[in-house]
Subunit: 121 residues, 2 copies
C-alpha cells in the first residue's frame, strides 16, 4: 500500500490534515470554541456553558477539534482541560496564503471594466 504518495507536492497525510482542519473549522460553534480557547485553557463544562446545546453536543465538537489536532484535551480528575494547538492552524494558513491576495481579483476587475466598456460602445 502506498501511503507516502505525493499529490501536488503534498503527502496524503498532509491532505488529510487539511481536510480535518478545514472541516473542523467549518462549524461556527467550533470556531467559537477555538476563539474561546485562545483566551486560555478551560474545562469542557466552562466551554459548554454559553452554548444553547447539550454538554454531549459540545463534547462531540471538542472531539472533532481534538481529532483534527487543533486542541489538546487533558483529563484531570473528573474535569477535562482543553487548550489550543497552533501547528495545524499554521498549516492551513500556509496553504491558504498561496491563494490569498491573488492577482486574479485585480485581473477580474480589469476584465469586467473592459467588458463593460465594450458593451457601452
Amino acid at each position: 500500500m502506498i501511503v507516502n504518495q505525493k499529490v501536488n507536492f503534498m503527502t496524503v497525510q498532509q491532505m488529510a490534515q487539511l481536510d480535518a482542519t478545514f472541516s473542523a473549522l467549518s462549524d461556527g460553534t467550533r470556531r467559537a470554541i477555538v476563539a474561546r480557547l485562545a483566551d486560555g485553557e478551560t474545562t469542557l463544562s466552562d466551554l459548554a456553558a454559553p452554548f444553547d446545546m447539550s454538554l454531549t453536543a459540545v463534547s462531540k465538537h471538542l472531539r472533532v477539534l481534538s481529532d483534527a489536532g487543533l486542541v489538546d484535551i487533558e483529563k484531570r480528575g473528573r474535569t477535562r482541560h482543553c487548550r489550543l494547538r497552533g501547528a495545524p492552524i499554521k498549516e492551513a494558513v500556509d496553504w491558504l496564503s498561496k491563494y490569498e491576495s491573488f492577482w486574479i481579483d485585480r485581473f477580474d476587475a480589469l476584465a469586467r471594466h473592459l467588458a463593460k466598456e465594450e458593451n457601452e460602445k
Copy 2:
C-alpha cells in the same frame, strides 16, 4: 428579524461566509480545483479531466466553490470559464491568523518537558 446581530465582533454574514469558505475547502477535490485555478482561468471540462469522477460531480464541487464566493463562473458560449477570487480566502486567513502561532504550543512543549523531567526523577 435581526440580521446584523454581532457575535464576538463578527456579523452573522461574516460567520456564514467563514462557514462557507472553510467547508468549501474541507474537500480535497475542491482544494485541488482552487490550486488549479491559481494557475489561471479554465473551463469546467478542463478542470474535470484529471479527476476520476463524473463531470456532474465536478460541476457540483464548482458550484459549492462558486456559492462560497471562492470562484467566479462565467458562461461563454457553451463553456463555463472559472477563475479564483481572493477576497473570501483573505477573510479566512485573517480569521486563522489570530490563532496561528499561538503561545500555547510553546507553553505545551514546556509543560510536557517539565512533566517528563518530573517522571524521570
